[in-house]
Amino acid sequence: MDIKDIVFRLCSAYGASGDENNAAETALDILHGFCTDAGIVNGNVIGNFGIHQEGLPLLVLDAHIDQIGMIVTEITDDGFIKVANLGGIDRRLLPAQQVIVHGKKDIKGVICSVPPHLLKGGSSKVPEFSEISVDTGLSRGELEEIISAGDTITFDSPCRSLLNDRISGGALDDRCGIAVILLALDMLQGKKLKYNVSVIFSVQEELGERGAKIGAYRLNPDIAIAIDVSFAFAEGENRKKCGLLGRGAMIGISPCLSREVSDILISVAKEAEIPYQLEVMNGLTSTNADRYSESREGAKTCTLSVPLRNMHTPVEVIDLSDVRNMASLLAEFIAEQEH
């Protein structure tokens, strides 16, 4: 399984929160190779890995399929598209940003900005979403043939390779998490497992973990692992809040996570000599883990995060070695040891 191909393929699909179908279908297509019963249920992609055995605890592997984006609210008389945000977008980087509007067909556009020559005082202020417009070069009439209110918009920022194993793209949060799960399943094929494993690629995480809320209820896991991204350090950042690129999966520790699961993941990593780092939080994790832990009668929950720079921007950066190492860690965690 070429993990870079998988990540690039997943990221080339689009799926802003609430409009994940294109990305979900792409992920489902790959997941079918491991979970023959996989399908889309109320938006979430759900599948069972292999044949579940009587008596084994149910482990759910979750990654979210949605990405941050924007939603069309109005087309103005002049043919500009007005928008609202889907998830926590950094408004500082919106001026002159290139986007794709997903209507009856995809249309490329540019977010309006004012050049420095015309800025009062020479520097811009950060626009409110009410001030954001998208310029597609089309008139209102032309746009109305293709675009309607409620259509979504994503950054036009295809994945690109950087040096080493590093890549950049606009939807790595959390398509790289989906790739981790797919790679782990690939590693587990034909192995005897300690758990019954189900997979969910959940929708609307960026709007408050909504897909995971209903997915957790449906799947009712004993153990759940939310596979997502977390902050990676670059010079000038707060090292205390960040992991490092290329140093392995970040295993979550938090009062709201299961210390038992965290400790097992740590010991598995140590025994198998898989690099890892710790991500200690002092409360909610702001990931889907928060939904699993308190669903129904509760679940033992942990987070595994891929360190990522520039979160929620068109130029998120990860190191694919972290994706591979996290998949190895998951596979070791799930497989029955042979000796």
Partner: protein, 338 residues
């Protein structure tokens, strides 16, 4: 014209590093005129016309584009940079770039929005808070691929948006494209065509090329700031896409020659093409250096209206670009009658 513009826009040429642009232009014009390259890198071409008027006419555009230069390699392998030309950091943060002659892929990174204070989230980023990430894990590794002083360019597709074009570097490859075509079509009168360097860092190329050409009349071809966007009304729009070439009466650098200014509008009217002026005194261009050369040069600027100037996503209307060519083609004859 569109294909020519595309080819020119996709070449990288930040101020001070215009050689790739210059070489491409020389390939296109060398069979049509005499040319030389001066000490700063300006490309000065002379086209013999069928007629002479005794007046020396120069037409000029600049080859350089705004971009960045690597100033420091940080311990974590990321790069510090400075902007070359006037760029708002808001159009730099979160972009794809390429670094140096080997086109190393990079991106412009910054602290994730989650980790900013409320005040920081509401303040435009400072250029110094941004860095370029090429994927290197250490300074030692980055140094294998990048050297201090390497130029950095926006990576931005050239695409059509309806009847419009979006690209980097339209400022001023649009002017270069118009000049190349004028050269290839051979002007009626003797004409100097000058492709200048270093416009974006203070009109530096044109200052010396105008000194050596010493023209009587100059026409500067540019791309200028259109702000005809949502929420901006009336004169604040400065100029608009689709309303034809822009001929200003004054900007921050120049009060334009009144007779040439009127000639431009009269000519456009006779050619039945739209022509507009700027409704704000803003910006400047090589005219600022040229019109004060030696004893003074009668100067006019004709510009393609361009949205989001000095960003990776400049947008122009193709018809304005075509009409700029048509207008300047005619002006090049009529200026000899002044």
């Amino acid at each position: 014209m569109k294909e020519l513009l595309k080819e020119l826009c996709m070449i990288n040429g930040v101020s001070g590093d215009e050689s790739a642009v210059r070489e491409s232009i020389i390939e296109k014009i060398k069979d049509y005129c005499d040319y030389r390259v001066d000490n700063l890198g300006n490309l000065i071409c002379f086209c013999k016309g069928r007629k002479t008027s005794g007046k020396k006419v120069m037409i000029a555009a600049h080859m350089d584009e705004v971009g960045f230069i690597v100033t420091y390699i940080r311990s974590d392998g990321t790069l510090s940079f400075g902007e070359v030309g006037w760029i708002d950091p808001s159009v730099v943060i979160g972009r794809q770039v390429s670094v140096g002659k080997n086109h190393i892929s990079g991106i412009v990174g910054s602290t994730a929005v989650h980790n900013l204070s409320k005040e920081q989230r509401e303040s435009a980023p400072e250029m110094d808070s941004l860095y370029i990430d090429i994927g290197a894990d250490s300074a030692e590794e980055a140094e294998k691929y990048v050297s201090l002083g390497d130029c950095v360019y926006f990576d931005s597709e050239f695409i059509e948006m309806g009847s419009r074009i979006k690209s980097k570097a339209i400022d001023d490859r649009a002017g270069c494209a118009v000049m190349i075509r004028l050269i290839q079509e051979k002007p009626e009168y003797d004409t100097y065509f000058v492709f200048n360097v270093q416009e974006e860092i203070g009109l530096r190329g044109s200052r010396v090329s105008a000194f050596s050409v010493e023209p009587d009349f100059a026409i500067v071809l540019e791309a200028t700031t259109a702000s005809d966007i949502d929420g901006v009304n009336g004169g604040e729009r400065v100029c608009s896409l689709g309303k034809g070439p822009v001929v200003g009466f004054m900007d921050r650098s120049t009060v334009y020659d009144r007779e040439m200014y009127r000639l431009a509008f009269d000519t456009a009217s006779e050619l039945n093409i739209p022509c507009q002026t700027k409704t704000r005194i803003a910006g400047g261009n090589d005219s600022g250096a040229i019109h004060l050369t030696k004893c003074g040069v009668r100067t006019l600027a004709v510009s393609v209206p361009c949205r989001y100037l000095h960003s990776p996503s400049c947008v122009i209307e193709q018809q304005d670009f075509e009409n700029t060519f048509v207008l300047v083609h005619e002006l090049l004859k009529r200026v000899h009658e002044l």
